[in-house]
């Protein structure tokens, strides 16, 4: 489409349309080429690039000349890049002879405003001088940030021998905006120039290094386009960066780059380059002048690898109610098989549109272009999930103004209350629960103690909501699930252990075993909302033990043994066993969950129906208003969900609060106080786990304030919230005291005491009967009931029996009890 209407080299063009520069390079390389092509171009042309001569004979000498050039199909196979002189208006025939670098004349590549010399110089200057002291990319790890960045990278190349130089376009932009513009607009011309510049520089510096092929420059992170949806016809032939998810990859396609012909008569051989998918078969043998004697020899022709990849827009980029777009991407050479379906990647490449090749037998053609992207650079965005931190993996960019509004909001004294009331406005009150969830959304600070052997410290806050059915628990979960970018929502009833963790699947096409991740792994760095937690089967629940404390998930299935990260916060909702919450029972008794699991929740809230008139009135008002308020009124009252989202994302990314001195003291005091409460009655009311919870909550609260320091106020709020939650969930209904052992051991201290008493009473009773080796179960139960003042249930009786059996005092077999 952008090809010139008239060919500047017109008359001199040989029949197979090979660009000037390539012929030139051949002239240098091989005698036989000289015979084929007239020496038509000056030798000093800077445009020597892209020659498919991976088969240079002889040992490679060091230096630019000695290292073979590897062709770059990603930049297009047919490159017509003659230079033109801007001062001589029209591209004339001699414009192509780019060697005449006459003073005062500005030579540019035809169709662009790129002057090869200047461009090269600029890029070399960029490489030599660019310093980015604030860089935090992990690719630059280990490099001295105060030295020119790319020179260090070149040094790396000389050591490692991988001849690829990745260049961040934003660096180019900050260094030289004009160069950046040219790179974006004319990648096909500018990137080869960059290649040349790099190679000259490299071999000047490391004249003795030997590389597989010449260094190729791979720019990435072009800021032009970030969204597949915004690609439009103006982006054709420009360099773009888009993000998306790989949905399909094709088999490897060998694409012929150079055809090898041999004369059947005299065995003379010749090579013809493939131009835009066509091979110009030589009609006459140059050696013996026989016509139609040349035959294609397949295994001596040169092929390059190519792969078709389908990429789908990532779900976060899409407007609601539309289906995701897909784009076809071609990967070449060593980029083939770099990505797999399911990977989330950023692609930098050149956007192409090709007219549909019409069927030669038809007079009309479809007026549609086929579009694709030739990849220059892949960057997996989820790659880093496998190792360590990934604060920037979401690549959420905040504009200056947005950051400003967020900071303004954070400066308000009541930001904590504001945000918590903005959370699920349709759900009435439950302030503390909303606050708890808000802190969960922010999370604590991630700490790494792996050097002291403790491994990662959990930063995620886990919350369990239990309560009467119909107290909008599910609604709260749905809201949270919709709010966070990487949230998962499952129901305990419908999910199996497999669905939560990961399962191994056989790919129908490749017969390969594939590890498919479940909800917990998918919500890594997000929140996993589990509804109907109590309905979950025991085996499923047991999976959560590891996830909720160690934040990892171990899998040993079908020969795949691995440990996946699952740094997910769990927000679970459970219904009481008896459908209605029984206030006379403890939390454990009400929801029948193992205490080992319960103790892993930082906060356990009860969502009960408070029965008081003022509350009812407010609730009624809230609901009626919910139904009949106009949209505007609602918006006035509450923060926008989008603002809330950004606020949370910003805080999670940029704020990492640390405890200050006073806060540490306050935490210690709080913990000591908590231990003290129980010690008076011979109970333990706090464990180190509770202290950890307090720290996490305090950190999260500091994040809400956008503060880098955890201060006393944060500790106070954490204490308050923790106490509130405990008051609700760990109060012993028999005594009215808060008893943490309900949650940590599943039994309150008083209950344990009573159990012992019953066992002792039973033992006494049996002993009082003298030496009877065996007795009836039912009779024993009745006797005990008759003897005791307090009511003894069957459960209690059985527990007592079990306790005695543990003491090896008796055994229970069927309906008889035997003494030992």
């Amino acid at each position: 489409m952008s090809s010139p209407t008239s060919t500047p080299v017109g008359s001199k063009r040989s029949r197979d349309d090979i660009p000037v520069t390539r012929k030139l390079y051949r002239n240098r390389l091989s005698e036989s080429y000289l015979q084929i092509l007239p020496s038509e171009v000056d030798m000093s042309s800077p445009l020597m690039y892209g020659t498919p001569s991976s088969r240079v004979e002889g040992t490679p000498r060091s230096g630019v000349r000695g290292t073979p050039v590897r062709q770059r199909p990603d930049l297009g196979s047919a490159r017509k890049a003659p230079q033109v002189d801007l001062h001589t208006e029209l591209p004339s025939a001699d414009g192509a002879v780019a060697s005449e670098q006459a003073a005062g004349q500005k030579l540019v590549i035809w169709g662009t405003d790129v002057n090869v010399g200047t461009c090269k110089e600029k890029f070399q200057r960029f490489l030599q001088r660019f310093i980015d002291p604030t860089s935090n990319e992990d690719e630059n790890a280990g490099l001295d940030l105060n030295e020119p960045l790319y020179m260090q990278k070149l040094e790396e190349i000389s050591v490692i021998g991988e001849p690829v130089l990745n260049v961040n376009c934003s660096h180019v932009q900050s260094f030289d905006a004009d160069l950046y513009r040219q790179l974006i607009s004319y990648p096909q011309e500018v990137i080869p120039t960059f290649d040349m510049a790099v190679n000259e520089l490299f071999f000047e510096r490391f004249p003795d290094s030997i590389l597989e092929h010449q260094i190729q420059v791979r720019p990435y992170n072009a800021l032009k386009t970030r969204n597949m949806r915004s690609l439009n016809p103006e982006d054709i032939d420009q360099m773009i960066t888009i993000s998306g998810m790989v949905i399909r990859t094709s088999q490897l396609i060998p694409e012929m780059q150079e055809a090898f012909f041999q004369c059947q008569v005299c065995a003379f051989s010749t090579r013809v380059e493939v131009d835009r998918g066509r091979i110009a078969e030589p009609a006459v043998c140059r050696n013996c002048n026989t016509t139609h004697s040349l035959a294609l020899i397949h295994n001596r022709s040169a092929f390059s690898d190519k792969q078709m990849i389908k990429v789908q827009e990532s779900p976060d980029d899409m407007p609601a109610g539309q289906t995701p777009h897909t784009t076809i991407v071609y990967a070449h050479n060593d980029l083939v098989d770099k990505v797999q379906p399911g990977d989330r990647i950023n692609i930098t490449g050149i956007y192409r549109a090709v007219p549909m090749r019409e069927n030669p037998r038809q007079s009309t053609v479809k007026s549609v272009y086929k579009t694709h992207i030739d990849v220059i650079h892949f960057r997996k965005t989820d790659e880093k999930r496998l190792h360590g931190l990934d604060e920037d993996s979401d690549q959420k960019l905040f504009t200056e103004e947005r950051v400003q509004t967020l900071k303004e909001l954070a400066a308000k004294p009541d930001v904590y209350e504001r945000l918590s009331s903005a959370l699920a406005p349709s759900i009435y009150e439950q302030e503390d629960i909303k606050k708890g969830i808000l802190l969960q959304l922010f999370g604590g600070t991630r700490k790494d103690f792996s050097q002291t052997g403790r491994g990662n410290f959990r930063a995620e806050v886990n919350i369990l909501l239990c309560g009467d059915p119909g107290t909008s628990k599910s609604q709260l979960l749905q809201y949270v699930f919709n709010l966070v970018p990487r949230g998962q929502y499952t129901s305990g009833k419908g999910s199996s252990a497999v669905g939560l963790t990961a399962y191994v699947m056989k790919d129908p096409e490749t017969k390969q075993l594939v590890l498919q991740t479940g909800a917990l792994v998918l919500s890594d760095n997000g929140i996993c909302c589990i509804d109907e937690f109590d309905k979950m089967s025991d085996s499923t629940r047991s999976v959560l033990h590891e996830v909720m404390e160690q934040q990892t998930l171990s899998i040993a299935k079908a020969g795949i043994i691995c440990q996946l990260n699952a740094r997910t916060s769990v927000l679970a909702a459970a219904n009481p066993v008896e459908s209605q919450w029984n206030p006379k029972k403890t939390t454990i008794e009400n929801i029948q969950l193992p205490h080992t699991l319960l103790s892993r929740f930082d906060l356990i809230f009860l969502m009960l129906d408070p029965q008081d008139e003022a509350y009812d009135r407010r609730l009624a008002h809230h609901l009626v208003a919910l139904y009949y308020q106009s949209e505007e009124q609602i918006e006035e009252e509450f923060l926008d969900m989008a603002v809330l989202k950004d606020y949370i994302a910003y805080a999670r990314t940029y704020i990492n609060p640390r405890l200050n001195e006073e806060a540490s003291q306050a935490l210690i005091e709080a913990y000591v106080d908590m231990r003290k409460i129980g010690s008076g009655r011979g109970m333990v009311s706090a464990y180190p786990r509770q202290l950890e919870s307090l720290i996490r909550l305090a950190e999260a609260h500091a994040k809400v304030r956008f503060s880098d320091k955890v201060e006393t106020v944060d500790v106070e709020e954490a204490k308050r919230l923790h106490r509130e939650a405990l008051k609700q969930s760990a109060t012993d209904p028999r005594t009215g005291f808060v008893d943490i052992s309900i949650l940590t051991t599943g039994m309150s201290a008083t209950a344990r005491k009573r159990k012992e008493e019953v066992a002792q009473a039973l033992k006494k009773m049996i002993q009082s009967r003298g030496k009877i080796p065996a007795m009836k179960y039912q009779q024993l139960f009745d006797d005990l009931r008759g003897q005791s003042e307090a009511a003894i249930t069957k459960d209690m009786f059985e527990e007592a029996l079990r306790a005695l059996a543990d003491e090896d005092y008796l055994t229970v077999t069927g309906k008889t009890v035997r003494l030992l």
């Binding site: 489409m1 090809s3 209407t5 439009n232 016809p233 054709i236 949905i247 399909r248 094709s250 694409e255 998918g277 066509r278 190519k306 389908k310 779900p315 407007p319 609601a320 109610g321 539309q322 289906t323 995701p324 777009h325 897909t326 784009t327 071609y330 549109a353 090709v354 007219p355 090749r357 069927n359 038809q362 007079s363 009309t364 053609v365 479809k366 007026s367 549609v368 272009y369 579009t371 694709h372 699920a424 349709s426 009435y428 119909g470 107290t471 609604q475 749905q478 809201y479 129901s491 129906d609 029965q611 008139e613 009812d616 009135r617 009624a620 609901l623 009626v624 919910l626 139904y627 009949y628």
Partner: protein, 625 residues
């Protein structure tokens, strides 16, 4: 009929004339749209345009203006096309600028290297007729289209079919009368290579003449599917929108060329051709004779597809509404009486059914859909009563679908649409429905047995649909949530296993010896005019605005507090939610647009009645050993 109908018969001529006048001034595009919009604004003019829904494709003139009432089933990737291009006349060597808009193919002799070529962008939507459209709605729009002489040679000759025959239509028996509608012109080739969708295999009539999977959401659907090329306002359209599209019909046979004709060697060297799988080509470039292309000039979003109501919110409509409002109360009484008969004399259940039929998700507050009213009619007599009940509902609403929840269907049917990455399209499922479709879930068909994993997924999807009015489409690597607005009615023997907003145990007052006969008699007793009134009533009541005054708000609050005072367990927040919805629907059903005290009391009253009934049921069951 006006004399010059060029804008209908030769719309491309109009477009080209405007293009020629424009001298490459890009404003001409807006002018074209303006022109057609203006033409369609004229009274009755839109009824001159033949409809793809009613007129078989082979009676329609290629490149003429047609309309299509449809649902956007899938959105394909945007494509770039030659908006303006230059051709070279081989004899005179003169370059001529041409316009490529609203066309699929170019003229011959395109100069691909011309500097004047303008690349433009358009998007293709895959549109299907509105799923589950009731036969009566089709019938009426068909007849009204026949009233005005269409600009085709086609004279509609379909007889009005009786009620009985409509029933057959719901079954899976072949319909001989519809033959002309489904007769394809596909050549043998397409027949040979196309396979049917697995989802529709079970229910598609065996004589289904098309072997191309047209990807209808519901099994057994017919009608033309269409590839609509959209040029303007791409962002304003959403998946599952119901639209009436006016566009230029294109059935150029060039489009039908399938991959097989291509030279394999050509494919090898020209990779742009080979990047599409055969499945993808079939899905994206089906034969134009089966799936015509429509180049959109104008599209009108449809609020409803009831042909008895003026569709556009114009002055006509407000006049229509105000005239009907007077009758509202009397029509309601008649409808209530009719439904009471149908529900075997149970007045309360009839009242609730009526409220259910006019319910509508009118807004969403964060994740909470407001206004949904899923009804669970429990205690339904077995033996085809539910089937008959559905037929009656179908007679009243313009869009409906009965999902018989047998174990087999739940395990085998695809309810949730799924992205097929090989063919690069969204394979439809039964829950891809237009707004306000009545989904009739027949749980009486469910028997004991094991649900497999797809069955569990289907049940979960139904539960999500009822609770949140959303369907999570399956995109393999992730799910995507699409909000919907579907009225779900569950009929069951006991309490349904699915959640519902409101459960009404049916208490039959009469036990007719022959249920079929009984219901048929009731149905036959209604005149068409009467039924039509009901239809208008139901569609109209839904569209009314509604508000609540501060005074009544206060009263409602007081009431709630009072109720809780006596027994806090008896009334919960959830009950208040439901009563507010009932009060709203009750007021609307009477044509009142504000809640009055009386209205609130009535809502409270019928809810009380209903609850006492469910409690009765509970204690009854509790007493059983």
């Amino acid at each position: 009929m006006p004399s010059s109908h060029d804008w209908i018969n030769k719309p491309l001529g109009v477009v080209e004339a405007m293009f020629a006048q424009s001298n490459s001034n890009p404003e001409w595009e807006a002018k074209v749209l303006e022109y057609f919009k203006g033409q369609l604004k004229e009274k009755e003019s839109h009824s001159w345009v033949p409809s793809l829904n009613d007129v078989p494709l082979h009676y329609l003139k290629p490149n003429s203006l047609v309309k299509f009432r449809c649902l956007v089933q899938d959105m394909f990737d945007p494509e770039f096309y030659m908006g303006v291009y230059e051709t070279v006349d081989p004899s005179t060597k003169a370059n001529v600028l041409r316009c490529g808009k609203y066309k699929d193919v170019t003229e011959c002799g395109v100069d691909l290297n011309s500097r004047n070529t303008v690349t433009a962008e358009r998007q293709t939507f895959y549109c299907v007729p509105i799923p589950g459209e009731s036969p009566w709605a089709k019938e009426i729009s068909f007849l009204s289209a026949a009233r005005v002489v269409p600009s085709t040679s086609y004279v509609p000759s379909r007889q009005k079919r009786s009620y009985e025959e409509d029933d057959d239509d719901m079954d899976t028996q072949p319909q001989k009368q519809r033959e002309p509608h489904t007769e394809p012109h596909g050549n043998g080739d397409s027949k040979r290579q196309e396979t049917e969708a697995p989802s529709s295999q079970t229910t598609t009539p065996s004589d289904c003449s098309s072997h191309l999977d047209l990807n209808f959401p519901l099994p057994g659907e017919r009608g033309p599917a269409c590839l609509v090329k959209v040029y303007e306002g791409l962002d304003s359209f959403k998946l599952n929108d119901t639209l009436e599209i006016y566009g230029i019909l294109s059935v150029n046979p060039v489009l039908t060329v399938l991959g097989e004709e291509k030279d394999p060697s050509l494919l090898l060297l020209n990779p742009t051709e080979s990047m599409e799988t055969p499945e993808e080509q079939r899905a994206h470039d089906p034969p134009a004779s089966l799936v015509p292309r429509l180049h959109m000039l104008y599209a009108r979003p449809l609020q409803h597809n009831n042909p008895l109501l003026p569709s556009a919110p114009t002055e006509d409509q407000s006049a229509f509404v105000s005239s009907f409002l007077v009758e509202m109360a009397s029509v309601r009484a008649e409808l209530l009486a009719y439904l009471t008969h149908v529900l075997l004399g149970d007045g309360l259940a009839a009242e609730y059914l009526l409220l259910h039929l006019i319910s509508d998700v009118y807004t969403r507050r964060d994740v909470l859909p407001l206004g949904k009213f899923t009804l669970n009619l429990s205690g339904c007599p077995l033996n085809s009563y539910t089937e008959r009940l559905y037929q009656i509902v179908q007679q009243l609403v313009p869009c409906s679908y009965r999902l018989s929840m047998s174990l087999h269907t739940m395990n085998s049917m695809r309810l949730v649409p799924k992205k097929d990455y090989v063919a690069n399209r969204l394979v439809s499922g039964a829950l891809q429905l237009a707004r306000n479709t009545s989904l009739f879930l027949d749980e009486t068909q469910l028997e004991q047995g094991q649900l497999d994993s797809s069955g569990v997924r289907n049940i979960t999807a139904l539960g999500n649909l009822i609770s949140w009015q959303k369907v999570d489409y399956d995109f393999s690597y992730h799910q995507m949530e699409f909000p919907c607005n579907i009225n779900v009615l569950v009929t069951s023997e006991g309490r349904s296993l699915l959640p519902s907003d409101c459960q009404v145990p049916l208490q039959p007052q009469v036990t007719p010896p022959n249920m079929e006969e009984y219901l048929t008699t009731i149905h036959m007793a209604q005149f068409t005019s009467q039924i039509n009134k009901f239809r208008v009533y139901l569609s109209l009541a839904r569209t009314l605005d509604y508000s609540i005054s501060d005074e009544v708000t206060k009263a409602v609050e007081d009431d709630f507090v009072d109720m809780r005072k006596d027994d806090p367990q008896s009334v919960t927040a959830e009950d208040l939610h439901r009563m507010l919805v009932v009060a709203r629907l009750l007021s609307l059903s009477l044509g009142q647009t504000t809640l009055s005290r009386d209205g609130w009391m009535r809502a409270k009253h019928i809810d009380m009645l209903r609850r006492s009934r469910t409690e009765q049921q509970k204690s009854l069951n509790g007493n059983e050993p």
